[in-house]
Point group: C2
Chain length 346, copies 2
Amino acid sequence: MDSTLEEVAERAGVSRSTVSRVINAHPSVREATRARVEAAIQESGYRPHAVARSLATNRTHILGMVIPESVSRLFTDPYFPLMLRGATEACNSRGYQLILSLFTASVTPSVMHDRLARSGYLDGVVAANTSLDDGLIPRLLEDGIPFITVGRHPVDSVDYVDVDNVGGARMAIEHLLRLGHRRIGTITGPLSMTPAQDRLDGFRSVMVAHRLPLSERLVAEGDFTEAGGRAAMTRLLEEEPTAVFAASDSMAIGAIKAIRNANLRVPEDISVVGFDDVPSAVSIEPELTTVRQPIERLGQLAVEILISRIEGKGHDAVTTQRIVLPTELVVRKSCAEPPRRGGPRT
Amino acid sequence: MDSTLEEVAERAGVSRSTVSRVINAHPSVREATRARVEAAIQESGYRPHAVARSLATNRTHILGMVIPESVSRLFTDPYFPLMLRGATEACNSRGYQLILSLFTASVTPSVMHDRLARSGYLDGVVAANTSLDDGLIPRLLEDGIPFITVGRHPVDSVDYVDVDNVGGARMAIEHLLRLGHRRIGTITGPLSMTPAQDRLDGFRSVMVAHRLPLSERLVAEGDFTEAGGRAAMTRLLEEEPTAVFAASDSMAIGAIKAIRNANLRVPEDISVVGFDDVPSAVSIEPELTTVRQPIERLGQLAVEILISRIEGKGHDAVTTQRIVLPTELVVRKSCAEPPRRGGPRT
DNA sequence: ACCTCCGTTGGGAGCGCTCCCAAGCGTAGC
DNA sequence: GCTACGCTTGGGAGCGCTCCCAACGGAGGT
């Protein structure tokens, strides 16, 4: 069971090196020898010892997925599970493993970082949705470990995969405009995170392009959670918007609750657009109009690019890789034309 | 940056062994020497090479979390994220790392298994919610790798952590009985999974204890998903139950939709109880009465027990560890007294 | 003054694998 | 028939660390 290369070699009557060649599919092994070795491997149930191999090759085939503490709270949101699934899928098919590093309370970021990057266990790191201020990226850069971020990062040499947050937000707002809305509010994510910034930019750029009022009072910062969306919407309500763009579906769901709580209806009194298109977007009443982003694909691509960087395939190893995936507006039932002035809404 | 023990030793004017002792907090190092070595470590930015250490100690401090393919579909359910978070938390505080192994389409279970257990990278495995028929447990047993399952497993020597599914189901049904329901249906999970079996057993035992009808037609098998719950409920509707116990919140939510789809109301026409108490249980209308299980705690305990087994602390190493956590009924708004016969329901 | 013992320290021998270099051998070319 | 070259194969030298055993020296006991 726990046989070693040497034992297999003896059994096959060849040397350690030859067995190693067979295992690594090295071409220069005579067919007859190869067969003999393979038989010996079968018989002994031999499996290469990954740790020993890693020590010799300086490769572990293990990737780290880092999720900063601030974000791990969102873990009940399907966003991360989906991204993880994409990442895992890619790892599986490329023969890599994924270590999950959530920054939790019991451990400081720097301990966490040491354990990760400098432990020598990781061939590369996927830094998911880091916020700009957590200092993770500079450290990774300093370590020289290959990494990629999910969500754009401003530093020049950083690889990333992202979705078109600006474009998605634009589509959402344009949809609202098309329905006749003029007084549109937005609930943003935490502005230390680039996707939140970008969605807000998209919102603003459309408003500006249409010469619409862009009061800061129509912008409420949330935290991507339902509770945060609810609180933000409650504030927004005072401004009497006829439509709201929430930067995540969870926040949109929170917003709908706040609206109902104020005895208003969605979409008759206020239209709501979300972002993400998580499964529960269709579980709620009314089904949510939202911007779909390919979350699973994002995780998958991140891993694939990271691996190609690690393995140094072609020019991937020198060119910074930046991929932005398109987003898509999904029209459902949470938006309608704005109420007539002085109409049903008191 | 990538200095070795030897280099640090030279810098401190001691031997490799002494540096090793300092790093591993071995007591027999003179204070002065220790200080000198620590300074050298600081200066050189030395970090022990985890892989080399693992090769020498035969310990990686890496655990695997295995989630079978059939279950990874549930990934949009908050169950796994929460369990993962508990597990990660425990790993973090004990200095372990967690490798996530989802069985995905691109890889067969046996390849997956080889990669895991026999790669030598894993000190132990947490097998989450395996179904009885996927053959994972026998293989782990055969390999002799330490492991624990989340959700009870019938084999004698297997460690597990579980929640009191039977008791939880009982509480749910008794609650319904107390409200006056007699014709109660249930939507089960896939019966190849022990939690699904246990919840059904709880349902049955209460029904039997109260001498209530136990028609198989009032039992519909679902798959823990919302869509499955909806389909199962649609079938159940023909039996005209006044209440339904769904073995997961997702299925309960699906059931509510099916009920509404039939132009009936929850809870006025049909009461619904779920299981899990996921966050979205309070996001829907009406808020769901459900059985709460400590999911995060489950993941955490699984890891802690696994680690104590690996490290062979005391008798933990020989006694089978089985822990069953209590569940709790959370009464919200999805249950009411049954409609009067011939009442509003046509 | 000598022996013993303990607290410290150093160095060899691996852990199981890869990689490189060299050796063995058969064959083709001259 | 001899040289050269290419295909195979074997074995040494690590990868960076831990662990064990031996050695060293000073303190305490007699």
